[in-house]
């Protein structure tokens, strides 16, 4: 087992542990900080998987931009620390949840080696996977050819989201102010 694999396993385990910690935090801000760390770890894992563009984008866009918005909003609201409350579970819901988690684990186990192998067969139909420095070039080539329509639609989606965010968070005039 190479050093890369060991690092990958360690990073993965740490990421899952961070996620678990995050889920039980009282302060939203500390949870957000944990999430940022988690994302940096994930970026490292992407790098180990030879997806360098993905790793860079993960840090710049996700950890950098999106999480900043989160933290910004949390500080804006300035919520008091809440006791970590989970939704009160009735007996039926508890049973249902346990059954669901059990089923999930069973499914996860079932999704074993064989299934993964069969589900993700290597294929030569597309541009072959090249390690760096060709990675960014290949992603770009694919994105602006086969996925051009998706790319354009996503850009419209972002535009709509920007406008939507402005409209939603704008302070509305009350009826009295209108009159």
């Amino acid at each position: 087992m190479g050093i890369e694999t060991v690092a990958f396993i360690l990073m993965g385990l740490l990421a899952v542990a961070l996620a678990g910690t995050l889920a039980t935090r009282r302060f939203p801000v500390s949870a957000a900080m944990l999430l940022i760390t988690l994302m940096v770890l994930l970026a490292g894992m992407y790098g180990l998987l030879d997806a360098h563009f993905a790793a860079v984008a993960q840090i710049i866009v996700y950890a950098g931009a999106i999480m900043v918005v989160f933290v910004f909003v949390m500080m804006l609201l300035n919520l008091p620390p809440e006791e970590t409350r989970f939704g009160t579970l009735t007996l039926g819901e508890g049973v249902l949840t346990l059954a669901g988690l059990g089923a999930a684990v069973v499914l996860g186990t079932k999704v074993g080696h064989g299934f993964l192998r069969s589900a993700f067969q290597p294929t030569n139909a597309r541009a072959p996977f090249f390690p760096e420095p060709e990675n960014l070039k290949n992603v770009a080539a694919l994105m602006f050819t086969d996925y051009l329509w998706a790319f354009e639609l996503i850009s419209f989606l972002i535009l709509a989201a920007i406008i939507g965010a402005v409209v939603i968070s704008k302070k509305r005039k009350t009826h009295a102010e209108h009159a």
């Binding site: 249902l96 949840t97 669901g100 999930a104 499914l107 999704v111």
Partner: protein, 657 residues
């Protein structure tokens, strides 16, 4: 000249007038509305004169197909076409001239009469629409176009009777007219169905051609259907032409403005039944049952309505019952096979009854909407033109020798006795009705225009003759009522007027009635003679003079009290007649109340139980289901997430296995 185009214009202009008046002239000055509406009738009158005196007089029917209305491919391979077509022959030409001519006069008159009313545009829109419908009725070259007009005049009649709709009684009168007409319309509809069954077409000419070619054996085999069709037509006639048993709407229809009464309920619409019977004469004469029923209905109606007219005190009501009675004469004429005299009387009646109604309207207008003749009297001093023209109209209707009613009515009475389907009993009915007519018309005239004035002082101050726009139509109609009868000079008097053969109306309508005449001549030769004609003429003139004199002697001096002793002598009979034989009450008890009861039964068992049950219980079931469904919608985010999670599991399981 293009007479086919004229025909389309004749029918089209009144429709245009109705649309423009109804939709675009709401705010226009009264003068514009009146002038426009009148022009839309007067121009067709001029064109009608051109068409009727031109090609129609020389024996050629003018017809035009506007478009193909209904076209069906029959299963058997045939084609059933109903074109939207108009045609004028001598019969429809006669009515065309009456409708547009009298219509124009009444439009001129109405412009002045309705001067103070609100919403005149509505009045003239309806009036123009009526004329359009009436022209469709008369000019339609098949039964369906006629039926369109037939329904159209019914609608316009309803609208105009209820013109002052804010008064509930007027609105109710409109509805009564409409419903009574609907009953008759059902008859017309069934007659049309039978025509399709028997002949496969609705075209008058085509039906006539087929009937002409049919063998007597065919008629023996299909006697039932032919009779049924005739009786159904008669039902339509009783509705539209106000005959027993459906006449009840016409007296109530007097709730409308007086020009409407004159145009619709005297001169044109109510005579459409006569037109229809004359149009279908070739078929009707094939069934003795039908002809005798028609004659009986006409004769009985003539006498029955005349008796009610004897005691009425409302100037328009008297004229209304008189109209029913005179229509009875026309129907009687058709029933005994003297269709041409039905049409002749239709024409003279259109003149003198329109004159009388317009005269009555003139009185009512001058008297500020007072209609009770007991509060009139001596009006001839104040309303000379109205009064003397009214007298001419009265003399015409009672059949004073030399005026129009004399010729047309005497011919009917003569044929009621001696016509192909005539019988002395019919003559007796007619003669009695004529006697009553003389009495009530003279009574009406005397009480209104002569004797001492019973007008209250306030009204008397303002009493003056109406303007020329109202009196001019009266004078024109008075001339027509005087000379109109010369088309149907009795045979016996023919040599006085320079024609020994058939009189003018018989000659004029001969092409239309030729087919019926052949059939009637074969089965029922007439049995008249000059002596009989002279005798009957003398008798009826004598009756007329006696009854008129009797009425004058009763009412001239004493006013309305003159009839009191007679009324006391009659006792209960007088009250019964005053209550119009309680026919309305009879219908109320026999038809309307049971119908309402039946309606209540359906309301309880059908509407309440079934329909409301479904309507109420259905939603209750839906409500129960939705209560359960809406309980699932807790509004809590985590519940939805759970549902998503479960769905995810199911999907995952489905993909993997």
């Amino acid at each position: 000249m293009n007479h086919e185009l004229f025909l389309a214009i004749i029918v089209g202009l009144p429709l245009l007038g109705a649309i423009v008046n109804g939709f675009f002239l709401r705010k226009a000055p009264r003068g514009v509305i009146t002038a426009f509406a009148t022009a839309m009738i007067a121009i067709p009158f001029v064109l009608s004169l051109l068409v009727v005196t031109g090609p129609v007089a020389s024996g050629n029917a003018v017809s035009t197909v506007l478009f193909n209305w209904i076209s069906l491919q029959l299963a058997g391979g045939g084609v059933f076409d109903v074109p939207f077509a108009f045609s004028v022959d001598r019969l429809s030409g006669t009515l065309l001239l009456i409708i547009t001519g009298v219509g124009s006069l009444i439009h001129i008159y109405a412009g002045e009469y309705m001067h103070h009313e609100e919403g005149v545009y509505r009045f003239f829109a309806y009036l123009n629409l009526f004329v359009f419908s009436m022209l469709c009725l008369v000019l339609g070259s098949n039964m369906l176009v006629t039926f369109l007009g037939w329904e159209g005049v019914g609608v316009c009649s309803y609208l105009l009777i209820g013109y002052w709709y804010s008064d509930e009684a007027n609105a109710a009168a409109g509805m009564k007219a409409f419903i009574a007409n609907r009953v008759g319309d059902l008859g017309f509809l069934v007659a049309m169905f039978l025509a399709v069954v028997l002949f496969g077409t609705l075209d008058y000419t085509e039906i006539a051609r087929q009937v002409g070619g049919l063998s007597p054996e065919w008629f023996t085999q299909n006697q039932l259907l032919v009779t049924a069709m005739g009786l159904c037509l008669l039902l339509g006639v009783t509705g539209k032409s106000a005959q027993l048993p459906l006449y009840v709407w016409l007296p109530d229809a007097m709730a409308g403005p007086t020009p409407v009464s004159a145009l619709i309920h005297a001169a044109t619409m109510v005579t459409s039944g006569i037109y229809l019977m004359t149009r279908m004469s070739f078929l009707l004469v094939h069934s003795d049952t039908v002809m005798l029923t028609i004659a009986t209905v006409g004769g009985v109606t003539a006498l029955f309505a005349a008796t009610i007219g004897l005691v009425q005190n409302d100037i328009k009501k008297v004229l209304a019952y008189s109209t029913v009675s005179q229509l009875g004469f026309m129907v009687l004429a058709c029933g005994v096979g003297a269709f041409q005299y039905g049409v002749a009387h239709l024409m003279t009646h259109a003149f003198f009854k329109a004159l009388l109604f317009l005269g009555a309207g003139s009185v009512i207008h001058a008297m500020h909407h007072e209609q009770d003749i007991r509060k009139m009297g001596g009006l001839i001093k104040h309303l000379p033109i109205t009064g003397w023209t009214f007298v001419i109209g009265t003399l015409a209707i009672i059949g004073f020798p030399g005026l129009s009613g004399f010729f047309s009515k005497d011919e009917i009475l003569y044929y009621a006795w001696s016509g192909p389907f005539g019988h002395p009993a019919f003559w007796a009915l007619g003669a009695l009705a004529a006697a009553c007519t003389s009495f009530y018309m003279v009574r009406l005239t005397v009480l209104t225009f002569f004797g001492t004035s019973r007008v209250d002082a306030h009204t008397a101050e303002h009493l003056h003759e109406n303007p020329l726009a109202m009196t001019a139509p009266l004078m024109i109609l008075a001339v027509l009522a005087t000379v109109g009868g010369y088309v149907s000079v009795p045979h016996a008097l023919g040599h006085l007027f320079g024609h020994d053969g058939d009189n003018l109306i018989t000659q004029w309508l001969a092409p239309v009635l030729a087919q019926a005449k052949i059939t009637m001549d074969a089965a029922h030769p007439g049995h008249g003679s000059a002596a009989l004609e002279w005798g009957l003429m003398g008798t009826s003139t004598l009756i007329m003079l006696l009854m008129s004199g009797f009425a004058i002697s009763l009412y001239l001096r004493k006013g309305p009290e003159g009839g009191a002793s007679l009324a006391r002598a009659a006792g209960g009979l007088y009250t019964l007649v005053l209550d119009k034989w309680r026919i309305d009450e009879l219908y109320q008890t026999v038809i309307i109340v049971p119908l309402k009861k039946l309606g209540d039964v359906f309301f309880g068992a059908g509407d309440r139980a079934v329909i409301e049950g479904v309507v109420n219980e259905g939603p209750r079931g839906v409500y129960l289901v939705t209560t359960v469904l809406s309980d699932i919608q807790t509004g809590l985010l985590r519940n939805y997430l759970k549902a998503i999670f479960l769905g995810l599991l199911v999907l995952g399981a489905w993909i993997i296995w």
